[in-house]
């Protein structure tokens, strides 16, 4: 329901988004992962017609976003929960959107209730809201038109653990009823738990994408040695590709991620007489290791979840 093809955004000579392609199918949650500054928000703004792409196309429900007659009824968008007029009440923000979309006013109360903003909170001005409340209001805004697609940029930001759990359930339910969700995050645990498929982006480029379970299964082997240099030589001699030892996101202590079975890696180390201090499937470390590894060369240092 969202099709992104070769989307590129250049600012001057710098490519903020570089040839990004992915698809979001009905009934699925797509996690859009990457460190801050990786190009997630820029990609989402291009999908929503708010920023013109330098190259490539994006369609939602089969047409470019800007050609949707009444986008709010097809696509629920939450790009920045703080981008609301501080002087309006929560209810007023939704009422304006309801009038614009032609949604009955009673839906405002239904959606406020759905996201857990009570009558008291709805009467308060958005300027007095916590970030978590703004996220809830933003979700209510996105859900207001009963759309088939949700595009949410960092919706878990500012939510407490209970709120994150609640939102996960809400998105899962939305997808299970046949909707498509595109959800960006740098909170890896958050996405791992709810996404059916992942698109990992680093430095503007897609560095991995596919089914969440498959990506986690291929995470390879994490290996660490007392002498990191010797280990690297040993792996190179055995023809095993190792990543993660360079760049700002390298594991502390010089751990390497190898795309091979632990047994193969251990054998290579033993053959070269390298003493290992750690050897385990990286999948046990989950998405975080994958994420750190894949984005290691291109990311900023803000990669901790």
């Amino acid at each position: 329901m969202i099709e992104v093809e070769h989307l590129t955004k250049r600012y001057g000579g710098h490519a903020a988004v570089d040839d990004v392609s992915f698809t979001c199918a009905p009934g699925s949650v797509t996690g859009f992962l990457g460190p801050n500054g990786a190009g997630k928000s820029t990609t989402m703004r291009m999908i929503c017609g708010l920023a013109p792409p330098s190259a490539g196309t994006a369609t939602v429900c089969g047409v470019p976003y800007r050609r949707l007659a009444n986008p709010g009824r097809e696509v629920g968008v939450l790009l920045d929960a703080s981008a609301q007029h501080a002087g309006r009440t929560g209810r007023e923000v939704l009422t304006l959107a309801a009038i614009t979309m032609g949604v009955p006013r009673r839906e405002v109360d239904v959606k406020l209730d759905q996201v857990g903003l009570g009558a008291g909170a709805a009467r308060r001005r958005v300027g007095a809201y916590s970030l978590g409340m703004r996220q809830r209001l933003g979700l209510a805004h996105a859900l207001l038109g009963d759309p088939r697609v949700l595009i949410l940029d960092e919706p878990a930001n500012g939510l407490d653990p209970e709120g994150i759990f609640w939102m996960r359930g809400l998105l899962r339910d939305f997808a299970d009823r046949g909707g498509a969700v595109l959800l960006s995050s740098h909170l890896l645990r958050e996405v791992e738990a709810v996404a059916d498929q992942l698109v990992v982006i680093g430095g503007g480029r897609v560095v991995a994408s596919g089914d969440t379970d498959e990506l986690l299964a291929d995470a390879g082997t994490l290996v660490r040695a007392r002498d990191g240099e010797a280990l690297r030589r040993a792996l190179a001699e055995a023809g095993l590709a190792a990543t993660g030892a360079t760049g700002p996101a390298a594991s502390p202590g010089g751990g390497l991620l190898v795309q091979a079975e632990p047994g193969v890696v251990g054998q290579a180390a033993a053959d070269a007489g390298v003493v290992l201090t750690e050897l385990r499937p990286a999948g046990a470390g989950g998405l975080e290791q994958l994420f750190l590894t894949l984005t290691g060369g291109t990311s900023t240092k803000e990669t901790t979840a």
Binding site: M1, E5, S21, F22, T23, A25, P26, G27, S28, S41, R45, C48, G49, L50, A51, P52, C61, Y65, R66, L68, A69, N70, P71, G72, R73, E74, V77, L79, D80, S82, A83, Q84, H85, A86, G87, R88, L96, A97, I99, T100, M101, G102, H141, G145, D146, R148, A175, D176, R177, G178, G179, A180, D196, Q197, L198, V199, S209, G210, D211, E214
Partner: protein, 264 residues
């Protein structure tokens, strides 16, 4: 690198809303009118315009000689503060979307930005028309009070004055909106708008060569006849030139800028 792997949930999309149409211009105008009054800042700006009008008439009832307390005498001076504040309303209605970053939601709901701009212009023009109605009402109340307290209370009023007042306020609010649209920044637009007549006056005072262009381009000069009952063809012509330069051109350039601008 596309990843259209099989989803785990039944791949049946919820039905689209059949026959859903985009918001009409009247609907968008209603939204923009609501936005003018649904914040404290907007409400107080409108209330302020009304209060200043009332204050002026109250002062006039004190200071004007009895035979000068006429409807026309109450009507005309009110045009000045409203004429100053309405352009600010025009500026805020445009720039508020960017300073408060609501452009992100506004233009996501209505990607055809020119329709939002058209609705905003319609809304501020309606506000200008409403302000003329308030001016009439306050002047009428002033006239009634004058009559009751021994003043003249004369109701004679040239219809052309009403037409000129409407032109004055509508052009003013559109000029403000044009400045907002072009500069897309509240303080910059407000300061530029307010300083412009002063800059003209100072420059025209110092540089003799600018005196003639000022008669055609300084809106505080070209629009001055609108405070009276008679405007000559030459005055309309000079007004048209100044409006072309300070409203039509910035509106056009600002529209292009807004349509192209990246929202973030």
């Amino acid at each position: 690198m596309s990843a259209s792997t099989a989803p785990t949930a039944p791949a049946v999309a919820p039905p689209a809303h059949p026959g859903v149409r985009g918001p009409s211009l009247p609907r968008l105008t209603a939204v923009e009118l609501r936005k003018l009054v649904d914040t404290r800042a907007g409400r107080w700006l409108l209330v302020g315009i009304g209060l200043v009008s009332v204050a002026i008439v109250v002062v006039q009832l004190w200071v004007l000689a009895d035979d000068e307390q006429t409807f026309t005498a109450f009507f005309v001076p009110q045009l000045l503060p409203a004429g100053l504040l309405l352009p600010i309303l025009g500026i805020l209605s445009i720039t508020g979307e960017w300073s408060q970053r609501t452009a992100l939601t506004t233009y996501a709901l209505v990607p055809r930005r020119e329709r939002v701009i058209a609705a905003k212009l319609a809304a501020v023009v309606l506000a200008a028309l409403a302000s003329v109605l308030v001016t009439l009402a306050v002047a009428a109340v002033g006239t009634l009070v004058a009559k009751a307290t021994g003043g003249s209370g004369d109701w004679s009023f040239e219809a052309a004055r009403l037409f000129h007042a409407v032109v004055l306020q509508v052009l003013g609010v559109l000029m403000g909106a044009a400045f907002g649209l072009l500069l897309l920044n509240t303080p910059l637009a407000v300061v530029t708008y307010l300083l412009l007549p002063t800059v003209w006056a100072v420059l025209a005072g110092m540089v003799a060569a600018l005196r003639e262009p000022a008669r055609w381009l300084d809106t505080s000069v070209t629009m001055e006849p609108l405070f009276g009952p008679e405007v000559t063809a030459g005055q309309w012509g000079r007004m048209a030139v100044s409006v072309l330069v300070w409203a039509v051109l910035p509106l056009a350039a600002g529209l292009v800028r807004t349509l192209r601008r990246e929202v973030s």
